[in-house]
């Protein structure tokens, strides 16, 4: 009986310290030292939040680089239901979906081999990046759609390539939202009627 009371008391004291004091301390320190990071690296334009640097978005309109397909929510990139497809490599559904995506990309970007990340969904469904390969693959088409010089477009993309950490940790990649925002800044906002 004494052991039971000791258990209950220790659990409550621990809960107060680890569940209350500790996260509050981290929150306050975080807000003080890294205010933008702790609140989600939000991007704002004219006072409204257009998204987070870390959370991917759908890009379906002409003139924007496309992101990876997403399994989060019905239409993809639903940040309230982060998820992968969980389809097995031998699942026909996965192979069929990849074929459908390949055909769609062939229509917009022309025939040829497609960077794999553009036809496969990510683990979170919110992957903010595409591979360097996938960004370069789109340059020609996006430049044409925007009526801008391909070299200029390539230069902008190159500026947005994030390198491997120390040259061997992680992969080379491009943040799609940051790149598309830069497109709007450099080449003007797309006219929604202009499709």
């Amino acid at each position: 009986m004494k052991t039971l009371f000791q258990s209950i008391k220790l659990l409550l004291v621990m809960t107060f310290l680890l569940g209350g004091v500790y996260p509050l301390a981290v929150t306050n320190l975080g807000a003080w030292v890294f205010p933008t990071q702790s609140s989600g690296l939000l991007l704002k334009e004219h006072g409204t939040v257009i998204g987070s640097e870390l959370i991917g978005q759908n890009f379906s309109k002409v003139g924007y680089f496309i992101a990876r397909p997403s399994a989060a929510g019905e239409d993809g990139y639903d940040a309230l239901s982060s998820s992968g497809s969980n389809l097995a490599p031998t699942n026909k559904l996965l192979l069929d979906r990849i074929e459908v995506r390949k055909e769609a990309l062939h229509v917009r970007f022309g025939e040829g081999e497609i960077p794999s990340d553009l036809v496969m969904t990510s683990g979170s469904g919110l992957d903010p990046h595409i591979s360097k390969l996938a960004a370069l693959y789109q340059v020609k088409t996006i430049a044409k759609e925007r009526h801008v010089d391909e070299v200029q477009m390539l230069e902008l993309v190159n500026q947005h390539i994030e390198k491997k950490f120390l040259g061997f940790i992680g992969e080379e990649r491009v943040n799609v939202l940051l790149l598309n925002r830069a497109l709007d800044k450099h080449f003007g906002v797309l006219n929604p009627q202009h499709e």
Binding site: K2, T3, Q6, S7, I8, L10, V13, M14, T15, L18, G19, Y22, P23, V26, T27, G30, V33, F34, Q37, S38, S39, G40, T48, V49, E53, L54, N58, F59, R68, D78, A79, L80, S81, S82, S83, G84, S85, N86, L87, A88, P89, T90, N91, L95, E113, I114, S116, D117, M120, S122, G123, S124, G125, D127, L133, E162, I169, G170, E171, R181
Partner: protein
């Protein structure tokens, strides 16, 4: 390829180096000596003892130790359950999330208390900030401390001579939590925030995308939970996508440190063992056996993923990118996946359900072996000890002598408990997988057709029984049957191993030390390391090969033949 190998090698060197450097401090904490943090934390520690009416110097025999442990974990389950059932009435719930249904709350309570952190829910749409902080995070700490406490109690059992005591459970719990887990988590959480892991109490943010679409972005105190989730080999994500979620694991560097933090304390504990027993060679031989197995597992996993999926054509780049994040790619995902199943962590940075069949099998095998390839905090050590005892016993049989380990005779009693600890989780895995395949309600949860469907069920019960928590997440686990069946396996897989191991510790503690003789097997020798690795592989293979052949092995062969389902 060169970069990937560099990654793996530098990871292992850094891991072992830092773990060794930390072990001096770690040992002082565990034996209760003065250390650098004593001036700051001793007043807090003592006030805990006073508040709870604890005498940390009271020696406990194994039964008292086990009783305190079970009661403490028991009231832990009750508290989690109560909070999850009433979270709609509690504060810090800006999204107004409702209470959990009973079976889901029960599953989650057992899951977090047993250090499994299997999740039949999606965090961002189920758990209030209060529940995440006050019960889930707290159990992340306490279940990790419990694991380490058992490991230390076991060490004391081996080391002490003709004694009844294996230490004081309360003292172990308080010291491990205050001196080891809390300071490390605090620093680690701040590092994670610097990388972009969020930490706030804001309601979810509404954003309007560049294309004019609405996006709701979840918020929360993520970093504080993320730190202990990794350090304590817990693995339960704040969000559904776990460490694949950019808010939990935003950069390649954060990913590297996360993998590091899974294995850091378990490896450090081996050096502690060497220091406490004053035989550093004993810790080293176990470390070598673990690292050999780890390298084999990582090599197979990475090769399988790199080889990819031959059924997909017309693409450039890696063909196994389904379920993976671009910032991690194949190498960092493989490393994470192998580390998380080597330990009892279960966090994932890519979806295991979409792994190539043989890579999925590596994850599965490591859990089936009981997560002793390095292993979870504490659990890896005492799990491995069961195999060490098994190995010296087999060696003893071969030469016809009573087996000994560290000068302690291994007799019928220890062997009985060892066999229970080794077999119980395996029994749960196979019996429940078999049973589930007979229940229509259970098979309807399977999402992938063909042999992968069997792998999904097998994976679920291996993960639960091994207290891992990772999943082939296509399986719909949030059903009445799976919630209770998995909870049962988690409970047995945790305490069905802890109690026999504590019993062995108690029995070893009472024994005399016999001097090292001619016929004694040298447990620091290459011969012993080989024997240990062979025992682990053979035990695993004999128990699980048939089920693996029907799942991942067949799937792999079918994939090579371009068959899909």
């Amino acid at each position: 390829m060169v970069a990937d190998i560099t990654l793996f090698i530098s990871f292992l060197i850094l891991l072992i180096g830092v773990a060794k450097a930390y072990s001096g401090f770690f040992t002082k904490v565990l034996v209760g000596e003065k250390n650098v943090l004593t001036p700051i934390l001793a007043p807090l520690e003592n006030s805990f003892y006073r508040l709870c009416g604890i005498n940390p110097h009271l020696e406990m025999n194994w039964k008292k130790y086990a009783l305190a442990l079970m009661l403490f974990n028991g009231v832990g389950i009750v508290l989690v359950l109560v909070v999850l059932l009433s979270q709609h009435l509690l504060p810090l719930n800006p999204q107004g999330l409702p209470a959990l249904p009973f079976e889901l709350a029960f599953n989650t309570a057992v899951s977090f208390v047993t250090n499994t952190n299997w999740q039949n829910y999606s965090g961002e749409s189920t758990m209030s900030y209060f529940s995440q902080m006050f019960v889930l995070s707290v159990q992340n700490f306490l279940s990790a401390s419990t694991g380490i406490a058992v490991a230390v109690a076991f060490m004391r059992g081996i080391i002490s001579k003709e004694s009844e005591s294996i230490g004081n459970f309360w003292g172990d719990m308080v010291r491990i939590t205050l001196y080891v887990l809390l300071p490390l988590s605090l620093v680690y959480a701040l590092f994670l925030i610097s990388q972009g892991v969020i930490q706030n109490f804001s309601p979810y943010i509404s954003a309007v995308s560049l294309e004019g679409a609405n996006q709701s972005i979840p918020m929360g105190p993520v970093a504080s939970q993320e730190a202990i989730k990794m350090l304590g080999t817990n693995g339960g994500g704040f969000f559904n996508a776990n460490s694949a979620h950019p808010f939990e694991n935003p950069t390649p560097l954060s990913n590297f440190v996360q993998v590091f933090s899974i294995l850091f304390l378990p490896i450090s504990l081996l050096f502690v063992y060497g220091k406490m027993s004053q035989k550093s060679g004993e810790g080293r031989s176990i470390l070598i056996a673990m690292v050999v197995l780890f390298v084999l597992m990582l090599g197979s996993h990475y090769t399988s993923e790199k080889f990819g999926n031959p059924e997909i054509s017309g693409i450039v780049g890696e063909s196994a990118m389904e379920g993976k994040e671009v910032r991690f790619g194949i190498a960092s995902t493989s490393l994470f996946s192998v580390a998380t199943t080597a330990a009892s962590c279960g966090a994932v940075n890519g979806m295991h359900d979409s792994l190539t069949p043989l890579a999925g099998m590596v994850a599965l095998v490591q859990m089936m072996l009981g997560e002793i390839v390095i292993g979870g905090v504490g659990a890896g050590f005492y799990g491995m000890m069961a195999y060490v005892i098994l190995s010296v016993f087999i060696a003893g049989l071969m030469i016809g002598r009573t087996p000994e380990y560290m000068g302690k005779k291994i007799e019928a009693k220890e062997m009985t408990y060892t066999v229970i600890a080794v077999l119980l989780p395996g029994l749960c895995i196979l019996l429940f997988t078999g049973l589930s395949l007979l229940i229509p309600d259970a098979t309807s949860s399977i999402s992938n057709p063909g042999p992968h469907g069997l792998s999904q069920v097998l994976y679920a019960f291996s993960s639960a029984s091994g207290n891992n928590g990772s999943a082939f997440a296509g399986l719909s686990g949030n059903t009445l049957y799976y919630n209770y069946a998995l909870a049962f396996c988690m409970f047995v897989g945790r305490f069905g191993v802890i109690i026999p191991m504590l019993a062995i510790a108690g029995s070893l503690a009472r024994k005399k030390v016999v001097p090292f003789g001619k016929g004694t097997l040298n447990t620091q020798s290459t011969l012993f390391i080989t024997l240990l690795v062979a025992t682990i592989v053979l035990t695993g293979a004999l128990t699980f090969f048939p089920s693996l052949a029907l799942g991942p092995v067949i799937e792999h062969l079918m994939m090579l033949e371009r068959v899909s389902f």
